[in-house]
């Protein structure tokens, strides 16, 4: 299977894991990585820079309707929902928070699942609420690949357990296994 995009969702306790994954993925990665991560909405700067320190891929907080390019990581901007539009563009929205979250991981996953279908890899990491679980279900329904960080390894396992509960997840992996899997693609 040739995958065309990776979507990563995470909240509390996911920062280190995302950093590890981004530092392992090669510059030459031939697909985009989307990051839908909960963050404090008034902290606008710093997060991107902190994530960028060890990443091989350039990390971008995209503008609305920005063209998606491979080998880049797109971080959902604070206080916006991030959607994947048809026509290979990103769309942003200021609609009300979903599950108290903006960005909403569910919304990012659902739209990515619709756009990339079976060519999407959805990865759910540590987090303290159930946002993203429904999105993972949608990835699965569109025949995309679902990976969840092993709840036993998560700092906070609410989010990953919620995903596992409602969807038949393809792989429950440790951080290292996630990285090894992605490197073999």
């Amino acid at each position: 299977m040739i995958y065309k995009a990776i979507m990563i969702g995470g909240s509390a306790g996911s920062f280190q894991v995302v950093t590890k994954i981004l530092s392992a993925l090669p510059k030459t990665l031939n697909m985009p990585v989307f990051l839908s991560l909960h963050r404090l909405k008034h902290v606008r700067s710093g997060f991107l820079e902190a994530l960028s320190l060890k990443s091989n891929l350039p990390i971008i907080e995209p503008n609305d309707k920005e063209q998606i390019k491979p080998g880049r990581a797109y971080l959902a901007p604070a206080n916006y929902h991030m959607y994947i539009e048809l026509g290979n563009r990103i769309a942003l929205s200021t609609e009300e928070a979903v599950n108290h979250s903006r960005p909403s991981i569910d919304l990012s996953f659902i739209t990515a699942a619709q756009a990339y279908r079976e060519k999407l890899i959805g990865i759910m990491l540590s987090g303290a609420n159930s946002d993203g679980a429904y999105g993972m279900k949608k990835v699965n329904e569109h025949n995309g690949l679902t990976i969840v960080q092993d709840p036993n390894e998560c700092q906070v396992k609410t989010m990953t357990e919620a995903a596992i509960k409602i969807t038949n997840i393809n792989h429950v992996f440790s951080t290292e296994q996630i990285i090894n899997y992605l490197l073999k693609l």
């Binding site: 503008n63 309707k65 901007p77 206080n79 959607y83 026509g87 769309a91 929205s93 200021t94 609609e95």
Partner: protein, 293 residues
């Protein structure tokens, strides 16, 4: 509820048939989501909704109101407002009049944010402020200038940042009380803008998709934040055309934090920080005739 592309097409066609609105160039992902929400809220299937719209003009109006997104805040993105206060607006200080248009102003919190800054800069009297939205309900709220306290409490922090601090001079601190601009009643749960602010703007219903500039003046500043994200790329360019035509040379276009001019209008503006400035008109070189020969 999942809305398919076919559903969306039927809905857009119905709206077009039963009203003057055209949603065909709205960004499809959020439009699908909003439609799903409307169907849940109305407890209807799509076919049922379309029948209702066919028989009742008011339902169409209501649906369009509910489809459009109306989230807004006082001083959303404080850093950008600080830039406006300390960099952009002082450049207009010597003009006899300043025309400002808030396009897609929703319930008006940013209109009042602007008025407060203008007042601090002593520019309120010579400013004409126009504001428009597609939704007459939100315009009513905007006119009234009254908001739920508990929904807006978080944004008082934004007020503190923009109104009290100067990022270019940390020594400076303005001790401006909220009561200078609005009344807060925690018990009755409201924030109410003072009359000297609410009487200032001219509000008008305007659909950016099909209306022209209904204010019949040109502008020094057009503010349109987090509106065009709901439009597709082609429609965004039409809106940029409208704005470009209605800005004075060197006028400012201010978009949302993550909105940008990507297409053919990009060369017609300079980007300074978060603000676009319309370039002076350059006469086209008149070689066109030669090419045709």
């Amino acid at each position: 509820m999942t809305i398919t592309s076919l559903d969306l097409e039927q809905f857009i066609t119905a709206i077009r048939n039963y009203s003057n609105y055209d949603l065909s160039e709205y960004s499809d992902k959020s439009l699908k989501r909003r439609l799903a929400k409307v169907l849940v809220d109305y407890k209807l299937e799509l076919s049922g909704l379309i029948t209702q719209m066919k028989n009742n003009q008011q339902i169409v109006e209501q649906v369009v109101k509910d489809i459009t997104v109306n989230t807004t805040e006082l001083f959303r993105d404080p850093l950008v407002w600080q830039h406006l206060r300390y960099v952009t607006l002082p450049k207009l200080q010597n003009q006899p009049t300043i025309n400002i248009w808030h396009a897609g102003c929703s319930t008006g919190q940013e209109v009042y944010s602007m008025l407060m800054i203008l007042n601090e800069l002593d520019l309120l009297n010579r400013t004409k402020l126009y504001a428009s939205d597609i939704n007459t309900d939100v315009l009513q709220t905007a006119k009234k200038g009254q908001y739920k306290y508990r929904f807006n409490i978080a944004y008082l922090d934004n007020f503190d940042k923009v109104m009290k601090e100067n990022p270019f001079n940390y020594e400076q601190f303005f001790d401006i009380p909220y009561s200078k601009y609005f009344e807060i009643d925690k018990e009755k749960d409201f924030i109410k803008m003072h009359p000297f602010l609410t009487e200032k703007p001219i509000f008008k219903k305007l659909d950016l998709v099909k209306d022209c500039n209904l204010f019949y003046v040109k502008f020094d500043i057009i503010i349109c934040r987090n509106v065009i994200i709901y439009f597709n790329y082609d429609l965004q360019n039409k809106i940029f055309d409208l704005f470009h035509n209605n800005l004075y040379n060197n006028g400012y276009l201010w978009l949302g934090m993550h909105e940008s001019i990507l297409g053919p209008f990009a060369p017609k503006f300079d980007k300074i920080g978060q603000v676009y400035q319309k370039k002076e008109h350059v006469f086209p070189n008149l070689d066109i005739g030669k090419k045709n020969k």
